[in-house]
Every structure is written in C-alpha cells, then in structure tokens.
Amino acid sequence: MAPASLLAPSGAYGSSQSPWDLPEPLPGQAMIPTSFLLFHRGGGFWGIDSGQVMRIGPGAENLRVELSPGANPTAARPVALAADRVEGVVAGLAVRPMSAALRTFWPEAGFGVAVYSGRPVILLDPLHLPLPLVASGGPDA
C-alpha cells in the first residue's frame, strides 16, 4: 500500500475539526505530532504519530504497521502494530489528555484522545503500546 493512498481526502475532518485546530502546547508540554495514522483494531479506533510509521504491509493478522526503530529506542527490535484496517493519515486532531476515569479503567498508557469523524480515537504512545495491538511474528513475504 503506497503511503500516498493513506492520506485522508480533503474535507474528511470532523465537523468540529480542521487542520488549524492544533492546540498550542503549554510551556513544558510535549509537542503534539502534526499528523496521526489512524487505524482500526479489535473494535477500537487508534492513532499513532505518522512520523513514527516506517511501513505498512500485510501481516499475520490483516495489516502490519511497522514503526521506525527510533519510535521505541528501548525495544530490542523494531515494533509493529496489528491493524484490521487503516483509515488514513490526518492532521489537526484536537488532542485531549486521557481522562482520569479512562486511566482508572484502562490500564494502558496512551498519548491522548481525540474525535475523528464522530468516532473516539485513542492516540498511542510509541513507548507504551498496548499488548493487544502489538503485531505478533514477522512481516509476510
């Protein structure tokens, strides 16, 4: 799949979102990536900094989203995510921090949450990927 085909079509942003909605980082706050690769997995809708995505290809379970080695320098080898379907790459998501309730009942660490096209998205932290999303095995030939 060519990366260019992943770009969301013009006008694909939700009604309350536009590419100019990117929140200004507060002093001391991490810079928010400018674009996210959005994908579906296990009934959920997920996003990851598109700058950390190296390759998307077939995997043991539908699609395999390989992250660049720099995404998680502590990992022994490059990490890949399993995806059922890739939605596209979008910029300008209004990123919110994970709420306390979400952190209470979902023990994984996320980068934040957002809404895209009326659906909630969990934005992943490449350093703390939820195990159910990590692809098993290597890429298909």
Partner: protein, 147 residues
C-alpha cells in the same frame, strides 16, 4: 472545603437523586452530577480494559468513557444486556471535572434521599438506601475518576 467534596451531602441532608435501573437493581445518582440522559451512545470497546469499562463513545464532540453501571455497582446482569440509555454524569468539580457515561436500562425518577439513613457501602458506592421496599445503591460519581 475541598472542592471535590462540594457535592457530598452532609449526614442530615436530603438531596435529589436520579434513580436508574440496571438489570434488577436500582442505582441512585446525585442529580447535581447528572449532565444528561441520552439514548445509548455507540460504544467502541478497548482491549485490555477492566470489565467495568464498556468502551469509548463520542458525546458533544468529545471522547467519553462509558462504564457498565451494572458491573460498577455489582448488580446481576443478564447474558446479553442491551443498555438502551446512557446517563452522562460529571465526576468531580472544578478543574478536574470530567464527563463519564453510564450504560443503563432506564432512568426512572428523581427522589430525595436522606443521607442519614444510608447504610455504608464500599467502592464506587456512597451507601445503600431504602426507597419504598427497594434497596437502592447510591453511586459516588467522584470515585469514578479518582484514579
């Protein structure tokens, strides 16, 4: 006074509570914490979540965690619950305030409950009260986002 305790009734106070049915159990939610009751929101599950978290929904353009009220209050639920309504509540006040959805069967009525008569309870419950001959479990929404 601690801002997070601003809604907590004094022992002698009566306060309005929305009665919500989930399965065979009735739960009381402080009216002051209720933001809206809506038809069931579409919930997207999160793998690895605790059983109480039904998933994430979108409400008013914002991501909303939706909790299974039956599991929260320990109510026996049938094998295939539908939960046709979502009660959107506020957890805590002030800067830490956040909205949470509660998946339930039905919003019934608003009643005044006297905190002095509540039996103590643990977890996400403030206590248990009698409404008629029905034991009602009184939810503490502030505990839902307490970490």
């Amino acid at each position: 006074m601690d801002a997070s305790k601003a809604n907590e009734p004094l022992p002698s106070e009566r306060s309005g509570h929305l009665l919500v049915r989930v399965g065979e159990q009735i739960c009381a939610v402080p009216v002051a914490a209720v933001r809206r009751v809506v038809r069931a929101l579409t919930v997207h599950p999160l793998p690895g979540a605790r059983a109480e978290l039904a998933g994430l929904a979108e409400f008013g353009g914002e991501p909303l965690p939706v909790l299974d009220l039956g599991r929260l209050i320990g109510a026996p639920i049938g094998p295939h619950p539908l939960f046709p309504v979502t009660v959107v509540v506020w957890s805590r006040t002030g800067e830490g305030r956040e909205a949470i959805g509660l998946a339930a069967d039905e919003a019934l009525e608003v009643v005044d409950l006297a905190a002095a008569s509540w039996l103590p309870a643990a977890g996400f419950l403030i206590g248990e009260a009698l409404v008629g001959d029905q034991v009602v479990r009184v939810l503490d929404p502030d505990q839902l986002g307490a970490g």
